[in-house]
Symmetry: C2
Subunit: 197 residues, 2 copies
């Protein structure tokens, strides 16, 4: 059973994650974070030694929400094409029914952190690499079983799928219009089906 | 001839644009901006009434650098496929030889500004719309002349091309590896050639 301290910590992270997701690391002031968590400064520092520590925990929480969607969507799916289509479907679902308001945690964190906060940048990199490996290993398996064409490059597929979908998250958010995501998922789906033998 | 005031203003914008490009709006402190421009606070405020005004001018300057690359790359090109390939080529060139260090100004600005700074967000939106219209009108012309297949959707092509290339700018920057951009441009080039009759 979770202790009271752990429950408080979890609640802080859950609420802070929503603030960071919408306002970014630099855009989230201590005032914003205290208002969202309902704590005083001392109470927050009992659980996290710095804003950066809280941002790291919030990032892990946000990525965990998306990973849970993947686990659910991939359950029972073994074919390479159906798995790749399910991955695209998860990202589509995040635009229509977001895990957190504010866009993709990897994209948001990486754009802000890349030149300024190496620790957050490393975390964003690891999350993206996890996603690319999921796609790459699915492609490798598909080639081995003969479902996908011989010579299909797992790295190229991972780049194309993640780049197109991240770009579409960005466009849909910028315009407040899910049409960009829908068009991008249609394109990725055609592309994935085109890899089949 | 540019007056001394205009020259100073231009030099401020040029240097501030580099700071904003790498550190973002919130990540760029007045100290950073003063150090980069070599001015005292009062000197900066002679030319820009706020950090936001300076950020807007810097954004326009950064977008202008990219637009100049497009003008150059599209000169003398009239075919739809060659124009779309040239557009992809410009984005590829920005990874290998950036106009400013720090990634795509539209992507960086939009990600940071979308939930927090409506004026910058509007500016990023307008720049993206300009890019999408360039692609969309190229596709419309190509369909009209019979170079591209009847029924090719200009909106879908604009979304797929901009999403894939923006996503690739992001991935290449995140990993410090231009391979992501090269793979994405190869994919976009195949896609564009596939639209031809």
């Amino acid at each position: 059973m979770a202790t009271k301290g752990t429950q408080t910590r979890d609640r802080i992270v859950e609420r802070a994650a929503q603030v960071f997701s919408e306002r970014g690391f630099f855009g989230s002031s201590m005032t914003d974070l205290l208002a969202a968590t309902g704590l005083k400064k001392g109470g927050l520092y009992n659980h996290f030694e710095s804003k950066e520590q809280l941002a790291l925990a919030s990032f892990d929480y946000a990525v965990g929400l998306v990973e849970a969607r993947y686990t659910e969507a991939l359950r029972g799916k073994t074919g390479a094409v159906e798995r790749l289509l399910a991955i695209a479907g998860v990202i589509r679902s995040l635009v229509d029914d977001p895990a957190l308001r504010g866009g993709c945690p990897i994209l948001n964190t990486a754009i802000e952190a890349d030149d300024t906060m190496p620790v957050l940048r490393t975390r964003a990199c690891a999350a993206m690499t996890g996603w690319q490996r999921l796609i790459g290993s699915t492609v490798k398996n598909g080639v081995r079983t003969g479902e996908l064409r011989e010579g299909t490059d797992p790295y190229a597929v991972a780049t194309v799928v993640t780049a197109t979908l991240e770009g579409a998250v960005f466009l849909s958010k910028l315009y407040g219009d899910p049409a960009h995501m829908h068009r991008a998922v249609d394109h990725v789906s055609d592309y994935v089906r085109g890899l089949a033998t």
